[in-house]
């Protein structure tokens, strides 16, 4: 499997799981569908960019760092749109991004250039 596709897939799954944890907060029940879709799209965007990076650079350390940064950035944008829950959105987004970054480095076929650099 190609790393970009792997990134999209992991982003979708982990984003959806992260969104689904909102169910533990009763006040979100009415908008759980929107949260799930939004969180999945956020995860896919992080996965797409992390997958592209993993395709170019083979480094678990930098993959995690980039994934975490992207996860934090996109989570910040989501929190900015809501003007609240900054911590509750950004902290899990940061760790989810790190996991996506790690998984894109560990799965899928890297480019030949990345293999040569490694």
């Amino acid at each position: 499997m190609n790393k970009i596709l792997a990134g999209l897939l992991f982003g979708l799954i982990l984003g959806a799981i992260d969104g689904a944890t909102a169910w533990f907060y009763p006040e979100t029940h009415s908008m759980i569908g929107g949260i799930l879709v939004g969180s999945s799209i956020k995860g896919m965007l992080v996965g797409l960019l992390s997958g592209w990076f993993a395709h170019k650079v083979q480094s678990t350390k930098w993959g995690i760092a980039l994934g975490a940064t992207l996860g934090l950035l996109f989570a910040f944008l989501v929190a900015l749109m809501q003007h609240e829950h900054y911590l509750a959105i950004m902290m899990p987004g940061f760790v989810t991004g790190a996991i996506i970054g790690f998984l894109t480095q560990r799965t899928g076929a890297p480019s030949l250039a990345a293999k040569r650099e490694a």
Binding site: F24, M91, P92, V95, T96, A98, I99, L103, R106
Partner: protein, 275 residues
């Protein structure tokens, strides 16, 4: 002049030295004795370099021809073969500066280094087996580790050599599987007391008395060692569940830490909210 014991011994030693008249070599010192002859350090006058000179006990030069066909980084290259005035065959080869494997192990190298050396020996064996040559006498004294970490498998056997007891397979007829046994015995010898059970199982499988249940060839044994080094399950050992879980955890430590961090963050946020 009195012929006392010391003088007689000296005369005996001098008489035993090979006569290199007519060759391009000048004798320096004896390095070691093998099953089929004696190895000396000598100087090649023509090229002004030091070489190892193996003088065989008989005119049998098959050993040199055998090794000359094996061009591999872990097999010492042969420079020249010849016959001494007394009819004994000799061959000149690269003089390896380094330590014998048993001496190398005395320095307590890491497990990774031990396995690196064993894999180099195994690769040389696999190469020779692919060309129909078997070693017959794998033992630590026949493995040299050079000063730059290069590994050489020396003293390739001829028909007359049957191996060294502790490393010799109990086979009626020597074959590539006998070398697999020898490689397993070498692995067992090289493992420290604290070696993981998976590695001991690999050595045990290679050393089974019945050749049919050993690894079928050296590459299969090496593949199992590679699997061990990559944190995968080895063919030779059906590991208990707890060991499998521990191996999984160690192989996926980063992912498990990240998942634990995610769970920690979620719990923290949940409990902070309810305070």
């Amino acid at each position: 002049m009195d012929l006392n014991d010391a003088v007689i011994d000296h005369l005996r030693q001098v008489a035993a030295l090979p006569d290199l008249t007519g060759t391009r070599y000048e004798l320096e010192s004896e390095i070691g004795r093998g099953g089929m002859g004696v190895v000396y350090a000598a100087r090649d006058r023509q090229l002004d370099r030091r070489v190892a000179l193996k003088v065989l006990d008989s005119a049998l030069a098959g050993e040199a021809q055998l090794i000359a066909h094996l061009e591999h980084p872990a097999i010492v290259p042969i420079y020249e073969t010849g016959v001494l005035p007394d009819g004994r065959a000799f061959y000149a080869m690269k003089l390896v500066a380094g330590a014998r494997l048993d001496q190398h192990l005395a320095g307590a190298p890491s497990l990774g280094e031990r396995l690196r050396v064993l894999r180099r020996v195994g690769e040389a064996l696999a190469f020779a087996h692919a060309r129909g040559v078997i070693h017959r006498d794998i033992k630590p004294q026949n493995v040299m580790v050079g000063e730059f970490g290069e590994v050489y498998l020396m003293d390739w056997g001829v028909e007359a050599v049957a191996g060294t007891p502790a490393f010799r397979a109990p086979d009626d007829r020597l074959s590539q599987l006998s070398d697999v046994y020898g490689l397993g015995a070498l692995l067992r010898f090289m493992l420290p007391a604290s070696a993981p059970p998976a590695l001991r199982a690999i050595a045990d499988k290679a050393m089974r008395a019945d050749p049919a249940v050993r690894y079928p060839d050296a590459p299969r044994l090496l593949a199992d060692i590679e699997r061990f080094q990559e944190g995968l399950a080895v063919e030779a050992w059906s590991e208990p569940l707890w060991h499998r879980l521990r191996r999984f955890a160690s192989r996926n430590a980063v992912l498990l830490w990240l998942l634990a961090a995610y769970a920690g963050v979620k719990f923290l946020l949940f409990f902070l909210r309810n305070l």
